[in-house]
Symmetry: C3
Subunit: 209 residues, 3 copies
Amino acid sequence: MTPLYFLDLAGTFVFAVSGIRAAADKRMDLFGALFLGFITALGGGTLRDMLLGIRPVSWLHDLNYLWTIFAALLFTYTFDHTTERLKKTLFLFDTIGLGVFTVIGVEKALALNIAEPYAVAMGMVSSVVGGITRDTFCGEIPLIFRKEIYATACLLGGTTLILLNDSLNITGMPSYGIVILFVIAIRVVAIKFKLRLPTVTPNAYKNKS
Amino acid sequence: MTPLYFLDLAGTFVFAVSGIRAAADKRMDLFGALFLGFITALGGGTLRDMLLGIRPVSWLHDLNYLWTIFAALLFTYTFDHTTERLKKTLFLFDTIGLGVFTVIGVEKALALNIAEPYAVAMGMVSSVVGGITRDTFCGEIPLIFRKEIYATACLLGGTTLILLNDSLNITGMPSYGIVILFVIAIRVVAIKFKLRLPTVTPNAYKNKS
Amino acid sequence: MTPLYFLDLAGTFVFAVSGIRAAADKRMDLFGALFLGFITALGGGTLRDMLLGIRPVSWLHDLNYLWTIFAALLFTYTFDHTTERLKKTLFLFDTIGLGVFTVIGVEKALALNIAEPYAVAMGMVSSVVGGITRDTFCGEIPLIFRKEIYATACLLGGTTLILLNDSLNITGMPSYGIVILFVIAIRVVAIKFKLRLPTVTPNAYKNKS
């Protein structure tokens, strides 16, 4: 059980919690909660594996992912997430998950000789597609398309990983650690200073509204 | 043409009808109806095959699935589904489809050495993903996330299949028959007694609303 | 760089523009625009490849698709699409894209020994799934399910390609050219005469509304 694997499960756990909470907001039943938890946590890795042609998709070989999602369900029912301390812990793990999923996605793509820009994209897919699917199933335009430096943190993190490998010859766990810390830093700074990406406003729209 | 194959086509037919009717409700055109019929009937098996890495996806090797969906389109245009007798027949076939798709999904996963809990999940994916996609395309939160013992019937059916195989050494058609009857029984009982899964209400929500 | 490849990139460009513009309509940010542009342009080919079992999906081997989407982003920000002339050019390229994606989809399926009716379906999937996904992410029922002869043009184009191959022994670029012109002709005629597919109205609905 490598540190990356442990962090992967931790990220899976927190992503699942966010899916289960979204299900609760929409008054879904237990099955809906489980399904949405599953898809939020593993949807990104699933699409990444399907795009890369890894088959079957990775989690099908490891029951720990399933148990992690059951644990997330139990946890969500049991604890009061409005507690300020828990909120901060969940945010921290969510951001760690973001970094870990990015690292895993980039590494898997590079191992299959995918060009580096696409490897960065695969890192981002691993991280963000779960949340996008969650929001779509809830009948909402995915949050990530409108708010927050979130996917951008993944793209910058993935690019950093490749730069560390190529230019500084830093690989493996040291590079992963740097990338994860970097992703956390970007998100914390972005939220503190309310940084956002600009909205798309082509010329055609500027004279309207 | 084994009995399971025949039931598979029957399930495909009824699932397609439900997709085409949803398209009609939303005033979609002929193409929308065909597309939604297709996705409702074959979407679950498609995702299952893509997750398991079966390629190309199974129906691409068998044109009978395509003809079945055309037949469903013709049928939906021709018959009056408000007739009480037809409603009951469609419900019966829909439930048979649920059981058949569960059996096929579990068997395909086990044949690829997937762990049993995931095999049960693959059985459920075969059965429910089509309906989830149908509802999402119609701009609605999937019914299955909020109502009815439906996915639960698949999960219990899939688990039963594995128990029959492992503990009682009942395999093949006899076990399939038992599972399909069991799934039908669960659904009929659930609807008669209005059984539902509990809604997700984590502690955090209990003091609100 | 064959003519078909060049037209493929041109189609990718215009499809990406339509995704980016949809993102702008929904006030998404830069990432949302890039993501939606990507999915609109490459979503159809991606699903086609996943269904056919081509792995990894084709664009992962060719960075030109990525640069094309960046170019579309730059283009959308820079030019005023309300200009009448630009609108017509975009429409033309969109329709060319439709024809090209159809041709590529049919050819890829046939090369894998998929039966001809499914090959035609794969041609259509290549062409229309991107737009369907775009609309779904925008929280709308896909336009294509309700309006316009669009998917129908792909289906007729794909069928024509197969007829040209089988009956007239016309293959390769000559057949592609004919199909693309045919798809353009269908769309232009359909729009000029406001042709639509009939809406689905099963018998059960005729006495209502």
